[in-house]
Amino acid sequence: MAKSEIRSPLPGVFYRRPSPEEKNYKEVGDDVKAGDVVGLVEVMKTYTEVKSDADGKLTAFLAEDEDAIMPGQVIAELES
């Protein structure tokens, strides 16, 4: 089992769902494919998708919904 990390290249506010009325993009235990969106980062009035660049099973979120995050911060962990 190889571990990999999903990082946000941008600073800003992290969101786990596309809008307050919708469900989270992903939950712990979900299967994730490369290119899948796991969250959004809001900065400079723009929402940017945070995507996985590997396939695997999501084992943990390291950032909570509405957390302020830094560039390069690990958002989630995968096992593949």
């Binding site: 990082r7 290249p9 941008l10 600073p11 800003g12 506010v13 809001e42 900065v43 400079m44 009035k45 723009t46 940017t48 302020a68 830094m70 560039p71 390069g72």
Partner: protein
């Protein structure tokens, strides 16, 4: 022979030192938010200090070179990677046609500048290549750089010195808790003395909305206004004034809650009072502030502002002397 843009990063724009002279018509000067960093990048690759380069916000683009040239990355600490190998910033790096430039995660600051020998040679609009997206001026079709774009380079004059480097002591980056010096005025009289004192005592934080037009701050106590009858032409909110000109660096506080420092893509006027103006010597620092950075505003007088401006001119001269 151009540079191919593979991925564009986030709000990456072509910037030079801007287009002064049209602000009275509502067209801001624009240009690099960290002018010192752009000048340094250009000097490293042997360009005129005002040549056009790329301003990258928080993350870098991925570029493919189709000709040999020299590039340098300055400003925020965004480590360049050439064909995957991490290299030094603030350094002139030669590249061959076919090599690819990408970037690691931003370590500090907010904006990095990439200069290429010869400079980016997109058409001039009102005397500048600076991108002003709101007015669709400069850059490529007046917009931010996109994947699939090609960046034409001008003719390099061969002055680039491979390995030229600007050491850390000659650079300037904001401290962990940033201080921005502010000259109070023009509407200082609109707030109470206690409120004015508190504005300078409290620590504010950069809001996530901060961009090239304005840097917004939050987290401090709302201002208390002096009672008044609104003058003719002013709105009813206590922060409203009869429309006036907005200087670059002016700090407006709509409804007294969140200060906004107008930056290079500023609007030229409007109806919000300004508590003061960030001194010209500290404008570059603002461009290097990430969201949530704690920031204090420090009250200064005109003599201090002018002396700080001279110090910045000396710091630039020191870089010129170092690279000469």
């Amino acid at each position: 022979m151009p540079i191919n843009v593979i991925t564009s990063g986030f709000a990456t724009t072509i910037q030079d030192l801007g287009r002064p002279g049209y602000y009275h018509l509502g067209i801001p000067m624009g240009g690099a938010m960290d002018r010192f960093a752009l000048r340094c990048a250009n000097m490293l690759v042997g360009n005129d200090e005002g040549a056009a380069g790329l301003e990258c916000v928080f993350m870098g683009p991925e570029l493919e070179f189709t000709q040999d040239c020299t590039f340098a990355v300055t400003g925020g600490d965004l480590p360049p990677k050439l064909d995957g190998e991490v290299l030094e910033s603030w350094t002139a790096i030669p590249v061959k046609a076919g090599q690819k430039l990408s970037f690691d995660y931003l370590r500090s600051g907010a904006r990095a500048y990439i200069a290429f020998s010869g400079g980016i040679d997109t058409p001039l609009d009102l005397g500048s290549r600076s991108t002003y997206p709101i007015g669709a001026l400069g850059g490529i079709d007046g917009r931010a750089v996109q994947p699939g774009d090609t960046l034409p380079l001008g003719a390099a004059d061969g002055k680039a010195k491979t390995g030229a480097h600007i050491p850390e002591k000659l650079r300037r980056m904001p401290a962990r808790e940033t201080e921005l010096r502010v000259l109070p005025g023009l509407y200082w009289h609109r707030i109470t003395e206690a409120s004015g004192a508190r504005f300078f005592e409290e620590t504010w934080k950069v809001a996530s909305e901060a961009d090239r037009m304005g840097y917004r701050f939050k987290g401090g106590t709302p201002l208390e206004f002096v009672d008044r009858e609104p003058p003719f032409g002013a709105g009813s909110d206590p922060s409203n004034i009869t429309d006036a000109c907005y200087p670059y660096g002016s700090v407006q506080v709509p409804s007294g809650t969140e200060p906004i420092i107008l930056h290079r893509d500023a609007v030229s006027g409007g109806g919000y009072f300004m508590i003061g103006t960030v001194i010209s010597a500290d404008m570059d620092l603002i461009g290097q502030l990430q969201p949530n950075v704690p920031t204090r505003f420090v009250k200064v007088d005109m003599d201090t502002a002018l002396s700080a401006r001279r110090d910045r001119a000396k710091a630039l001269d020191a870089v010129r002397a170092h690279l000469a």
